[in-house]
Subunit: 395 residues, 2 copies
C-alpha cells in the first residue's frame, strides 16, 4: 500500500516551503514584507462582486463544460480589442489557469513525452508534468541577458522524437521578461519545422511597461493549428481566488479532445464565472492605472536594488516579478536566514529562492524571485532591508 | 503533431452524446422531460447565496490550497453529526468531487496500475482513469439482484499485482443501490488482505430511503489507514455549479501527497467556498423534507414503471437514480428513438443509455439510467410516456 511514484516525484512548492518559518517570525512580532508570492494587492473590480450579488437563479446548477456562453462571448470580445479574432468555439473556460495548463499538457503528451520550456519557469508546470508523467526539458536563460531566449539553435538541439511542444510564458513568471515578436516567431518556426505544438502562458498579457507590447502566439495566423494558449483572470482582474481561466486554440481536434477533459470535471465554478463576465466587460482602460502603478513599483524596487552593483538585475518589461542574482553563496540559505533570523527595526522580507524555478539541478542557486505586489512605500522599506541583509549575511 | 493517446482513449460523456438530438427535438416544439442527468431541481440553500453576498474582502485572493479553514471546520462538524470523528487535517477541500476523484486516483496509482470498481459506475471515473493511464477493472453487478455486490470471491479474483485499490460508490450512481454494512466490511477485508486502498464516493450520503442508513468507510476505525473518501456538496446542497468537494483520509502520507497536488492548482474557488460554509452550518434536519420528496418521487416513478412486468427494476434505497432493464433490443437505440422520433401529446423523455456506465463491452445494452429529479406530477407523465414508448418501439 504505497503512495504512487508520480505523487512521490512531485516537488513541494518552493515558495510554500518557507511558510513555516514565516509563521514563526510573525509570532515573534516581526513584520514580514511578502515579496515571495504573486498575490496582487489590487482590488478585484467591484463589478465582479456586484454581478454575483445580483445572481438570482434558485438552483446553482451545472453549467456547460466549456463555460457559460456569456463568459465565452465576453472573452472573445476582450481579445478582439487586442486585434485577436477568436470565435467562441476557440475558447474553453477552465478552472483557473492551472487547469488550462493541465488540459494543454494532457492533450498533446503521453507518459514519457517531452515539452521544452525556457527556465527559470513557473513551478506549477513541474507539478502538472509530474502528475501526467511528462518530462519537462529546460532551455536555460541567463540573468546576464535579462532572461531572454538563447540562440534558436540551442533550443532546437533539445528536440527529440518524444518532443511534443514548446511552451513559452510571456510576460514571464518568474523573470518579468517580455519576449519579443522576433523571439516568439523564431520559436514558432522551430515548432513548424519539427511539427510540434506551440504553447503559451499569457496570463500577464496586460502587464507590460515602458511602452513594450505583448506579442501573442494567437497573432500568428500561419501557425494557428499548432497554437494553444493558457489564460487566466487571476492576475488580469486580481481575482486569484476565482479560479477562472481558459484554454484557447483554433485547432478543432485539440478543442474537441480538451472538451472531453472538460466534460469529465463537469463545469467550472458557476458564480465565479458570473463575476468574470462583468470583469471582462470593462474597457481596456481599466488597466491604465494598474499598469502605471506596477511600473512605478518596479522602478522603485529596481532602483534600490541596483544601487548595489553586485546584484545582477536587468529591469524587466513585464509581469510583476523579476529575478535577481544576489551576491550570496546560496540564495535558499539566504532567504531562510533573512526570514528566520535577520530583522531590521523588527521587520524583514520574504523572497522566493530561485533554484525552485529551474529544473536543471544546481541552477539558480544565487537567484531569488521578487514579486512587487506591495505599495511603493513598503517596497522602498523592503528593498532597503534586502540591501542591508545582504551586507550582514556576507559579513 | 498528434493528439495524445490518452486524449484519444477518453470516451465522450454517454449522456451528452444525446444532447444534440435533444436540441433538435426542442426546436421542433416537443417538450423533453430530462431524466438523463443528475441535476437536482431542489433550491440551493438561500444561506449559500447570502454568505457570498456578504463577502466584504476587496481582493479575491488565493485561499489555502487545502481549502478555507472555516470550511474545513464546518465539514468536520458536519461529519461529527453522523458520529464520524475527523480532524481538519483529514480533509482537503477540492474543486468538486471530480477533483477529489482525480487526486485519489493519482495518489495511489501510476500508469498501468489498476483500480477495481463495481459496474455499472459513474462514467467520469473512466475519464480520470484515461487521463492518468490507470486501468479500471470492473466487477459486474446485476439488475436482477438490485445491483448489489457479487460474492466476495468474485471481487477478490480480480486482484492482480497491479491492483492499487477498490472503489465503491454508495448510495450508488447510477443504480441507487445502498451497499450494506456487511458488503462494505467484506470489501474492506479484501483490501486489508491484499494490502490495497479502499476508496469510496459518498456524495449521496444523505439520500437514503425506507429507513436505510448509509454506512461510511470512515466508520471502520480498524481500516483507517487504507480509507480515502471522495465527497462533494453538489448533490448534498443542490450546488452542482459550486464545484466544491473534499478528499478525506486519516492516512497522513496520503494527505501529504494530495497536498502537493492541491498546491499545484493553488486553491479551490474562494467565493463558492464561502457559500459552502453556510450550507454546511445548517442542521441535518435541513435534509428531512428533501429526503421525503425524493422518496416520494422514487416511489411514484418506480410504481409506474414496474406496472410493466417486463421491466427489471428493484426499487433502490438511495441516491436519486435507478437503473432499469427494459424489454427493448438496444437501450441506446431506444433512447435515441425516444428522444428524436417518439412523442406523446408532443412530449417525450430523455434517459441515459446504460452501456455507457459499464466498462465491460456489451454490458448494459438493455439498461437505462433514470434520474428522478423532477416533481412527482412531471415524473408521472414521464413514466407513462416511457411505458407507451416501449410498446410503440416494440410494435
Amino acid at each position: 500500500m504505497n503512495i504512487s511514484k508520480r505523487a512521490q516525484a512531485m516537488q513541494e512548492s518552493p515558495i510554500r516551503k518557507l511558510a513555516a518559518i514565516a509563521t514563526e517570525t510573525k509570532k515573534r512580532g516581526t513584520q514580514v514584507y511578502h515579496l515571495n508570492i504573486g498575490q496582487p494587492d489590487i482590488h478585484t473590480p467591484e463589478v465582479y462582486y456586484e454581478n454575483i450579488r445580483n445572481y438570482s437563479d434558485k438552483v446553482l446548477a451545472y453549467g456547460p463544460s466549456d463555460g457559460l456562453d456569456e463568459l465565452k462571448g465576453a472573452m472573445v470580445e476582450y481579445f478582439s480589442r487586442y486585434g485577436i479574432n477568436l470565435e467562441k468555439q476557440d475558447v474553453i473556460v477552465t478552472t483557473g489557469g492551472s487547469e488550462a495548463v493541465s488540459f494543454a499538457f494532457n492533450v498533446i503528451a503521453d507518459p514519457g513525452d517531452e515539452i521544452i520550456i525556457p527556465e527559470p519557469f513557473y513551478t506549477n508546470y513541474n507539478g502538472y508534468a509530474a502528475l501526467s508523467n511528462i518530462n519537462i526539458v529546460p532551455v536555460t536563460t541567463l540573468p546576464e541577458t535579462g532572461y531572454h531566449l538563447p540562440a534558436m539553435a540551442e533550443i532546437e538541439a533539445k528536440i527529440t522524437s518524444r518532443t511534443k511542444g514548446i511552451l513559452i510564458c510571456s510576460p514571464n513568471n518568474p523573470t518579468g521578461t517580455v519576449f519579443s515578436e522576433k523571439e516568439i516567431r523564431g520559436i514558432a518556426e522551430i515548432a513548424k519545422k519539427h511539427n510540434i505544438f506551440l504553447l503559451a502562458d499569457e496570463v500577464y498579457k496586460e502587464f507590460t511597461y515602458d511602452g513594450e507590447k505583448h506579442f501573442s502566439i494567437l497573432q500568428m495566423e500561419e501557425h494557428k493549428d499548432r497554437v494553444i494558449v493558457m489564460d487566466s483572470i487571476s492576475k488580469r482582474y486580481s481575482a486569484c481566488g476565482a479560479r477562472i481561466g481558459a484554454v484557447i486554440s483554433k485547432n478543432r481536434d485539440i478543442m474537441k479532445s480538451i472538451m472531453k477533459f472538460a466534460q469529465a470535471r463537469l463545469c467550472p465554478p458557476t458564480l465565479e464565472q458570473i463575476g468574470a463576465i462583468a470583469a471582462y466587460k470593462q474597457p481596456l482602460t481599466y488597466f491604465d492605472n494598474i499598469i502605471s502603478e506596477y511600473q512605478n513599483r518596479r522602478d522603485t524596487l529596481v532602483e534600490i536594488l541596483t544601487s548595489n552593483p553586485e546584484i545582477v538585475l536587468e529591469k524587466p518589461k513585464g509581469a510583476f516579478y523579476f529575478m535577481a542574482k544576489l551576491p550570496v553563496d546560496d540564495a535558499e540559505n539566504f532567504a531562510k536566514w533573512l526570514l528566520g533570523e535577520y530583522q531590521l527595526d523588527n521587520q524583514t522580507v520574504m523572497v522566493a529562492p530561485g533554484a525552485g524555478f529551474y529544473s536543471t539541478p544546481g541552477k539558480g542557486s544565487q537567484e531569488v524571485r521578487i514579486a512587487y505586489v506591495l505599495e511603493c512605500e513598503k517596497l522602498k522599506r523592503a528593498g532597503n532591508i534586502l540591501l542591508e541583509a545582504i551586507k550582514a549575511y556576507n559579513a
